[in-house]
């Protein structure tokens, strides 16, 4: 029962992430800096990590990129978004350990994720285009941008998490899962 509940909620999270990912890339919302995005789909990845842990967050972000590729059909966007998603989810998973120990804030987890996302994307972009100066030119600006976007996604994920915690079904699927892993 609880395993199925978790599966259903993870699938829902993947769906939300795919929709946000597709709409964001279709609208082409660019901030002041070309190539910088809000990274709204990161809200869902962070939410999945907060709810079900690192592994589920990784599943959600990889599935989001794979299904997003089927919809958007752009291999460049795919290679960039996949590398960014995997690296940022990895960093957020690491930061989540510190968060659980009460050493850092959720917003810092989110900012580190956004920064890691940008770092991975710039490195892959410079590999594709065979130019190292791309990293030194774009990375500082993108890192600066990752603070407001990280705060935004972090706040959104926290409020969603608080709201979801009122839902009996989800909290039960989380709680029983924690019991299963400790057994």
């Amino acid at each position: 029962m609880t395993k199925t509940t978790k599966l259903v909620y993870l699938a829902l999270l993947v769906t939300f992430a795919v929709v946000i990912h597709t709409i964001e890339s279709a609208l082409g919302i660019t901030l002041a800096i070309p190539g910088a995005k809000l990274g709204l789909a990161n809200i869902i990845t962070l939410l999945a990590i907060l709810l079900y842990g690192f592994k589920s967050g990784m599943i959600v972000s990889v599935m989001r990129c794979a299904i997003g590729f089927l919809i958007i059909g752009n291999p460049f966007t795919f290679s960039l978004s996949l590398s960014g998603a995997v690296f940022s989810t990895g960093i957020m998973g690491l930061a989540f350990i510190f968060y659980k120990k009460g050493l850092i804030n959720v917003l810092t987890v989110s900012i580190l994720g956004a920064g890691a996302h940008n770092l991975a994307q710039v490195v892959i972009a410079s590999l594709i285009i065979q130019n190292v100066e791309l990293i030194t030119f774009y990375l500082p600006i993108l890192l600066l941008i990752s603070i407001p976007t990280g705060v935004f996604t972090g706040l959104s994920a926290t409020y969603l998490y608080k709201l979801i915690n009122k839902n009996y079904m989800i909290t039960q699927s989380m709680g029983d899962l924690k019991n299963e892993t400790t057994k």
């Binding site: 190539g35 752009n74 850092i104 594709i128 065979q130 030119f137 890192l143 603070i147």
Partner: protein, 125 residues
């Protein structure tokens, strides 16, 4: 709610980012500037910039299509490109050495370089 480690990480990122941004801001423009066009890692064309030069336009065959580059009044921009996202077109004008416009899908880089790249305020010894 925020711990000391939070502040260290936030300030670390801000200092790193601002340092990089300011480094590019204060590069000197005194030297002879050039526009360097690179396609797929190979130099396609180098256009020296002079004070009263005529407008130059270039059509570059890239990886997936054509990129149209305009150079006017010692600055450069991409006017049109066949790429899907058009990030290169939205980048606008570049007018300082070190700045670049990148078209990732088409693998085209338009970069402003300088002969006196070493003439940066940092090395004033």
């Amino acid at each position: 709610m925020f711990t000391r480690l939070d502040y260290i990480i936030w300030i670390g990122i801000i200092v790193l980012a601002l340092g990089g941004v300011l480094y590019y801001q204060q590069i000197d423009v005194k030297g002879q500037n050039k526009i360097e066009i690179t396609v797929d890692g190979e130099v396609y064309d180098i256009i020296p910039l002079t004070r009263d030069m005529e407008d130059v336009s270039r059509e570059v065959q890239g990886f997936i299509g054509t990129t149209y580059i305009e150079i006017s009044g010692s600055r450069a921009r991409v006017t049109y490109s066949d790429c899907p996202d058009k990030i290169c077109v939205h980048s606008g004008w570049i007018n300082k050495p070190g700045q670049m416009i990148v078209c990732l899908p088409n693998r085209v880089i338009v970069q402003m370089t300088s002969d006196m790249e070493q003439d940066i305020d940092l090395y004033t010894n």
